[in-house]
Symmetry: C2
Subunit: 544 residues, 2 copies
Amino acid sequence: MSEEQQGGVCDVSDVSEVCDVSDVSEVCDVVVVGGGLSGLCAARRLKERNEKLRVLVLEAKGRVGGRTLTLSLPASNGHDSWDMGGQWFTTRAVLNAKISTYTSSIPSFSPLVLLDFINFLWRYKHLHSPSFTLNIERLCKSVCVENPMETPDALQLDSMTVQSYMDQHIWTAQLTEELKLCTRSLFGLEPSQLSFLYFLMYSAAAGGVMKLLETTPGSAQEFKVKGGTQQLSKRVAEQLGKGNVRLGSAVMAIWQNEESVQVKTGTSTITCKAVIVTCPPHMAAQIEYRPALPLKRQRLAQWMPVGHMTKFIITYPTAFWKQKGFSGEIVAHPSPSCPFGVTFDASSPSGSPALVGFIAGVQDCYWNSRESEDRRDAVVSSLVKYLGPEAASYIHYEEKDWAKEEYNGGCPVNVMVPGMLTFYLPSLRTPCGRIYWAGTETATRWCGYLSGAVQSGQRAALEVLADVSPDVLSESELQEVRAGLLRTPSDLSRVWELTGGSASFSRFLIGLTVMAVSVGGAVFLLKPGLCSNCLSHVLAVIQK
Amino acid sequence: MSEEQQGGVCDVSDVSEVCDVSDVSEVCDVVVVGGGLSGLCAARRLKERNEKLRVLVLEAKGRVGGRTLTLSLPASNGHDSWDMGGQWFTTRAVLNAKISTYTSSIPSFSPLVLLDFINFLWRYKHLHSPSFTLNIERLCKSVCVENPMETPDALQLDSMTVQSYMDQHIWTAQLTEELKLCTRSLFGLEPSQLSFLYFLMYSAAAGGVMKLLETTPGSAQEFKVKGGTQQLSKRVAEQLGKGNVRLGSAVMAIWQNEESVQVKTGTSTITCKAVIVTCPPHMAAQIEYRPALPLKRQRLAQWMPVGHMTKFIITYPTAFWKQKGFSGEIVAHPSPSCPFGVTFDASSPSGSPALVGFIAGVQDCYWNSRESEDRRDAVVSSLVKYLGPEAASYIHYEEKDWAKEEYNGGCPVNVMVPGMLTFYLPSLRTPCGRIYWAGTETATRWCGYLSGAVQSGQRAALEVLADVSPDVLSESELQEVRAGLLRTPSDLSRVWELTGGSASFSRFLIGLTVMAVSVGGAVFLLKPGLCSNCLSHVLAVIQK
């Protein structure tokens, strides 16, 4: 791990000075679990608002940055930096099915597929009134990100997968494949593994489906960070100061009572007033809580799956693809010979030529159990196939399978399967006593992204301040915190009130009418006399 | 826990004699993790076939029986035994919407709902040939339980929830509600939380959907065990002998290399040739494995959710409901006042009157976070409402929320969400080196039931024998084991080959035809001249 050799304020060597005594008992005001962007921004917000607060960030790994990691790799001009994790998060060109050149952010489709795509984006049949069609983007905007269960038809949308929705609304196999590439690149998962309502909520938190896919201003892929995104965390950690960010400190247990919380690592017990847990939900689920967390919170944290995502950087002496007139963007459909789904040009700001690629979803499922040499060779030979023989003469190949990173276990984000929003949503952000929840999964703006990590950390910091240091908050901030906490999603009793209803009934009526007309028609054809008799009987009854 | 006071061969006091030394190093041939029915039957099968094998069962709890638990409760004649877990597993009368009397196993429906139910059971539109309709029972039989991905349309069936299927095929809100009650009672989960293919596989493993619901011979609810189902485990544990079943021994880690496996509890390390892990998947996921298990196995074990299920027994001085002409079977729809979904008469073989009830799925989600007294009071007042004021004068109320049982965490069974069979199925039974998998979740007959636990334990024992003691197996048994292991579900590369295809294309053609006819019709109405011109052009082109 070359980034560990880079030094900086927060490496393990600094830490050993701080905690070389075993089973130390310590006291502070707030402990933040997780030194990713979310946890560090939470800590900074706490200190910004009340510098007297003693805040301690505990990070299990030997580095800060969570799901961002910037490595220095051998490159054309010696060494250069690349992001092995969160970057802009790439889905920029995934709507392209082969190597092609285009200038707009959505690549060109065949007319049939384009028709299908427009149909998919625009023609959403409102479930309870089939005659009323809704634009899927407008549907996205109708989703209340804070409480998706308030969305019209929320129960039905959360009871289906993205794949089920696609099966009902997409005509061409090609568009189906393109959209699978999208969810694979966005989540590391296939459309069959995601709740459709969750997908809408995730898109809504980004401002719309197209925002996730485009490269236009305001969309997900607008910016990259020169020098790498891990810098963001390193800078914030620097601001917080050595003593306040402790690496190599995995939290094993959080015990709370009415007076305080105890946070236990392998070597020390820290007593404090509040804890902000920022690690990914499935990692938070491995901490021992006393008293046990509410069952719904346990279930949510345990069962929010995280995708399969391996990212690779391959550096070259020259950007030979540009000389050939290629952009470096390849979109490859899954096959047993090509591991990646997408690649992009990843040449550094200082000009070191490189490509970045993603092995995600079903492709990563297939490839991650193979030997890393085989995977690398398959990547290189696929690049040769698409870009020419020069692709074989690379300087360095580096890959990062986030599922294998300890204290992480997957990238880019924990998602929700059908039914999860319906049954467990209230547990996502609701504090459990003195335990507060942050991390990009809990964000309501850019959930799953770096911005979401920052937003969630700052929100949790305000929640804690409202409890431990309310005097530093303005009245409007206090109200905002209270409103956020009160905006508890609807009670489960609404679930059973909302089930059944008009959709089933209208479908039943349609069925019944069709059946009546068919049977009536058949009878009329066979026995016109009988039929007119019946009809006069019915008319007589109606007249009565 | 009154069952711990009952004594018997396997209680904790016996165990302390065996392992009062800390960090003991031991050696045996096979370690079985989990003293439920599956683990004990695996151990017995190993000893039956080769009595020289040193087999050790490690059970984390202070009792054997896993998800079966028989308690002695205060009753009309002093004390009597009731099952708080696996019993026959009740769904017997859930297809009834109110208190009623009936003699067949499926209660009477209104004609409309009956029509809908028949339609649901019989009219399955085959996805790739819409004109061909399949009986859902026949569809069930078409599922290969060993490898559900070989089922026609497997990918599509696994990409939808049971709820999505119901939404497409059920007309009446009432039938929807009844079927929700079914999945709630069978799995402790709502139809939106289950993969439809998984539901078909589970049903197929039981011989069909109706087999899960009926009480006729050969169906799931045919038998109860006099004296309780936990006896089964206790008897097998007795046969194995004290020294071979160790209670209070939670397995923390399993480390293997090419020569052997080390199984670590808090107090000892046992070196052996093979391990059979029988605990529920999400508990197996908490063991530390070195080397790490394949990622797919990790994901499968972590993310197979388990339902919400609380069972209660309430004992009475008399079976007053019978005197009133009621069977004791109540089916109540979810409401904020009534916690249970179903109750049944549970009077003991010796005549102690009692009712058994289930709080499951969304109802348990809603009720399990409330105080136990409130839940009990709500149960009793609901019984009063349905059965009369005598219901208030109970002798004893006992409830068991399996989610709160340590080393268990849920009942009745871990299930699969959409996409799980597609992506992780091969990991369900495939051994990982010297680690073999059992437990009712891995059964291919009566998966999720007591019989499935036995079958899976015996299957894993044969797999181990084929490795450590092949001489005791017949040639046909060896072939059976090999065939079972080779029947590895299809490679993931099939997943991307199977996607897309005729369904989308036929839907596209239909859409295109409808659009062409509409546009053509409109144009014809507005500009008949233009239309005939166009038509002659098209005809000219075709003739060329």
